[in-house]
Symmetry: C2
Subunit: 166 residues, 2 copies
């Protein structure tokens, strides 16, 4: 029976444009729009926001906000603010490009790269077990090429992170 009269303050034009900027950005990375909205709003807010702030300002559901925050935390793009104010958590963005890229590579790219390598192993086995009249140098060559691709990726990705460090 109290009155935390949480007046829902709408986004300014400027904030909307920033949020829109990030929506586009995350689309390139294959992440859902809500991720861009949440990160964008945190990015342009001067102080950490609570989950309910995101719900109200972005007009998204609690579920979306919760799931989006989890993904962003997993990526290392958002962390819980250290200032503990009772039971409510506040969230703030990591704004270092190096960290953002590293997190994305670690969480979104590497798993695919690994599963690709497993598939490649299986493919190599399949070629080796082909009957003589089927086992062609062509197939072996192709597999080898895919192998080289993934090895390049394993070299380039760390270099990329290093470069973005400064």
């Amino acid at each position: 029976m109290t009155g935390g009269e949480q007046k829902r303050q709408a986004l300014t034009d400027f904030e909307v444009t920033v949020v829109d900027f990030f929506c586009d950005g995350v689309k390139v990375l294959g992440l859902p729009k809500s991720i861009g909205e949440i990160y964008g709003l945190l990015f342009i807010s001067q102080e950490p926001l609570a989950l309910d702030d995101l719900v109200q300002k972005l007009e998204i559901s609690k579920g979306s906000a919760s799931q989006g925050l989890r993904l962003l935390k997993n990526l290392g793009a958002v962390r819980e603010s250290s200032e503990v104010t009772g039971r409510k958590s506040f969230y703030e963005p990591d704004v270092e490009l190096k960290q953002l890229v590293s997190g994305f590579i670690k969480e979104q790219v590497m798993p695919h790269l690994q599963s690709g390598e497993q598939k490649l192993t299986r493919l190599r086995t399949m070629v080796e077990q082909m009957p003589g009249d089927m086992r062609s140098d062509f197939y072996m060559g192709r597999i080898q090429r895919l192998d080289r691709w993934t090895k390049r990726a394993r070299i380039v990705l760390p270099l990329l992170q290093k470069f973005l460090g400064r």
Copy 2:
């Protein structure tokens, strides 16, 4: 009233696995599955294939095959075979990683980067036009940071391509 008895030859286990490998691969890039199927089948075929081969072997519609081939040609990942055999075209993959990555960057990444830069210009204008009590160093700092991000991207992407060249 002739009989080009085009027996629809199904894919081997091996071919299916390769195609599946590429379906996963393109998903990371945010491209539709059919793109992976088409490129994958071309990649593992010993001779160029016609559009109808793709339709039959992958069991996809003519429309999908046509649209998929167009995208892949735009990316520079597939080209029309030079061997002209009447009215029908045959398609073959470019298998050089450098070319594939360059095409992807040029066609899929750069356009987004450019439109992002436009949005940034607009955002800077917005901050500059803010009334004095709103125009904060914080906002300027954030815009500057986004600027640095895009500049880094403009440097890194060419480097990436160069590195993959050998």
